[in-house]
């Protein structure tokens, strides 16, 4: 700053009475303890009986990434579920905690969308441009299947299954089958929980977005979402039928030679539906023998890749 005039001498003498000290860095007691193996932070698994521990998450998003890691060939990945959703990056689980390359304290925490890049770095980018599918047509078709699963099928999971889907987070006791709305948080809620869990609401899953409960032309301000559960269920049944027909007797979807991200996605949804509390949803998948057999086969492979994190504290 050569344009500024220098400080006059008496001021400089006064300032000299308050010298600037720079202290060394303080080791914070809150750094994460170093991890030896990659650890996946997920929502808690089902664990109905205490002696038969299940390491597969209850939540569809976490299960998708668990299946992805397992099917890409990784093994010996720890899981922990004592971290709440607020502690994750962007408020969304799953996150992957990897030991850093330099060996420094703490390691690195990756959000979900950076997991494929990390896996490529670890296992090598063997999939290439075709992402593991047989040809470009199969890859294009896989995009269609992904949008079908994440649209109609996810809507059935979210809409007809609200009490037990942690992604929704709406554990309202009066949220019965008949109640169709997801009200915005009240002032009291906003004070008590200032960082609410991010929810993937029904308005983002359904196409076209559902109209408000109070009607779009009325003077009452719009509130809630009006969803037809019968329609959602019909679309879900059609989607499952299409899935079963496309799988046929193949080992992996779309007749791929090796497991692909689409297989991980489909496995996650099928697993959640087969263990859902809603009988109608469960029955729909149960009736398709090939889907059930396929899911069982993939399940054993996915389970084998995970083990429980040793030092995490479970309340």
């Amino acid at each position: 700053m050569s344009t500024l005039p220098s400080i006059p001498k008496p001021l400089r003498q006064i300032f000299a009475l308050f010298p600037l000290h720079t202290h060394g860095p303080v080791a914070s007691p809150y750094t994460a303890s170093p991890v030896a193996a990659p650890t996946l932070w997920i929502h808690s698994p089902r664990n109905d009986n205490s002696d038969n521990e299940d390491l597969l998450s209850n939540d569809v998003e976490c299960l998708k990434w668990q299946a992805y890691l397992a099917l890409r060939g990784l093994s010996d990945v720890s899981v922990r579920w004592d971290v709440t959703q607020d502690g994750a990056i962007d408020g969304l689980l799953p996150n992957l905690h990897v030991p850093s390359k330099d060996g420094e304290q703490g390691g690195e925490l990756l959000p979900a969308h950076l997991i494929p890049g990390w896996v490529d770095g670890r296992v090598g980018d063997v999939l290439g441009e075709l992402e593991g599918y047989t040809d470009i047509a199969a890859r294009d078709e896989s995009r269609a299947w992904v949008s079908l699963m994440e649209g109609n099928v996810h809507a059935a999971l979210v809409r007809l299954f609200p009490r037990w889907n942690i992604v929704e987070g709406d554990l309202d006791a009066s949220f019965s089958f008949k109640m169709l709305s997801q009200p915005p948080p009240s002032v009291l809620d906003a004070i008590l929980t200032p960082f609410p869990a991010k929810k993937r609401s029904l308005a983002t899953v359904l196409t076209p977005p559902p109209p408000p409960l109070t009607g779009i032309s009325s003077f009452i301000p719009p509130w809630g979402a009006r969803v037809d559960p019968a329609l959602v269920f019909t679309q879900y049944c059609e989607a499952i039928a299409a899935l079963s027909e496309r799988l046929g007797t193949d080992k992996w979807f779309l007749n791929s030679a090796a497991p692909t991200p689409l297989d991980a996605l489909v496995f996650a949804y099928l697993h959640c539906f087969l263990h859902s509390k809603d009988r109608a949803l469960r029955r729909e998948v149960y009736n398709r023998e090939n889907l059930v057999k396929w899911e069982l086969g993939v399940q054993s492979q996915v389970r084998a890749a995970f083990r429980r994190h040793a030092t995490a504290s479970y309340a």
Binding site: L148, A242, L243
Partner: protein, 365 residues
């Protein structure tokens, strides 16, 4: 049942597009292909009349069917309807239809509702032209907000143009002063990046379907349009026909994918070549009725149903029962009036006696 007319209610058309929403255009195409000449089209801008609150919906006598999937199912079961799909590769078709509805739908709604200039110059006037006076001020904004969560999740909400000239076109009639463009540099970069990403997504999606279409006229090398053709062409039709002010995605379609445009034209000509469906008289119902979110208008205008013999018998029985009940009550009061009165008299006497006793006690004290 066949004698009653089938009426399809959809959003009103704009410019040369058949309707503003792709599901409505797809329903129109589907009905024209399956049951040509047996239905009529009503343009309405009041989705609250529909059973599910969304357009398109179909009325057939006393049946109401809403949403595109249900309409397709219903029409398939009508006698004499043409089976549009047959048993044509149903599984793959279901997945691709979902893909088109979600991804192509997102791209289209981003063009219609997310970009400010398009919203003010194209979409909003089209909706407002069909709405009566109180609703035309607040309903379009509500519609736009209903698409917002989905577009924000798809990261296609902030893709309005950053050019100064385009911003000036957005001025509404009430604002006379120039609004200074206070966008920070980072915000401009983000918007430009989001626009590029949206254009890239559109390009990828359309190239997938260009490859799938190949050299054929319709998908799956079929001779006539299937459901997938109808839904895909409905989206392309709207994207190509509407006169967008900011044609971010329209230019991608028009300049780089001529085969897809040709496909949409082929589907439209194949379906609408012979006849255009008649337009039903859209009832100009009063705007006050729209304010109440129930379908009271249908309750008030109950159609007169013809009385059959059995209906007459039931009516006689009903009125007979009511009259019997009333006469029974009247007889009871007539016959036992004296006893009732005596009972009341006794009660009064008892009460007076008690009061006298209380007074005596009081006086004694």
């Amino acid at each position: 049942m066949l004698s009653e007319t089938i009426v399809l209610s959809i959003w009103p058309p704009s410019a040369s597009a058949l309707s503003v929403e792709p599901a409505c255009v797809a329903a129109l195409f589907h009905l024209q292909l399956a049951i040509p000449g047996r239905f009529s089209v009503a343009y309405t801008a009041n989705p609250d009349q529909a059973p599910s609150g969304q357009l398109p919906y179909l009325t057939h006598g006393l049946h109401n069917v809403s949403s595109l999937t249900s309409i397709v199912h219903y029409v398939k079961n009508l006698p004499g309807a043409l089976d549009v799909d047959g048993s044509f590769q149903k599984a793959q078709s279901a997945a691709r239809i979902a893909h088109v509805q979600t991804t192509y739908g997102d791209l289209l709604t981003a063009m219609l509702y997310s970009i400010d200039t398009n919203w003010w110059n194209v979409t909003r006037p089209a909706i407002v032209s069909a709405l009566p006076v109180p609703q035309c001020y607040y309903v379009p904004e509500r519609l736009r907000n209903s698409y917002r969560p989905r577009l924000e999740a798809a990261e296609m909400w902030n893709i309005s143009s950053v050019d100064q000239d385009d911003k000036e076109n957005v001025m509404s009639a009430f604002r006379k002063d120039k609004r200074k463009n206070k966008q920070a540099e980072t915000q401009r970069f983000k918007t430009v990046f989001a626009r590029d990403k949206a254009a890239q997504q559109a390009r990828e999606f359309l190239s997938i379907y260009e490859r799938f279409l190949g050299e054929d006229r319709f998908f799956y090398s079929s001779e006539r349009p299937t459901s997938l053709d109808i839904i895909f062409a409905a989206h392309t039709h709207i994207l190509a026909q509407l006169p967008f002010t900011d044609n971010l995605l329209q230019s991608v379609l028009v300049h780089s994918f001529p085969t897809i445009l040709a496909h949409a034209r082929a589907v439209q000509s194949a379906i609408l070549e012979n006849a255009v469906p008649p337009i039903a008289r859209s009832n100009p119902s009063s705007s006050i009725m729209f304010l109440i979110p129930l379908r009271i208008s249908s309750l008030l205008r109950k159609p007169r149903v013809a009385h059959s013999v059995e209906d007459g018998r039931y009516t006689v029985a009903r009125w007979g029962w009511i009259s019997l009940a009333i006469t029974g009550v009247a007889l009871y009061f007539r016959l036992y009036r004296r006893e009732i009165r005596e009972a009341e008299y006794e009660e009064d006497v008892l009460v007076a006696h008690e009061e006298m006793l209380e007074e005596e006690d009081y006086e004694d004290e």
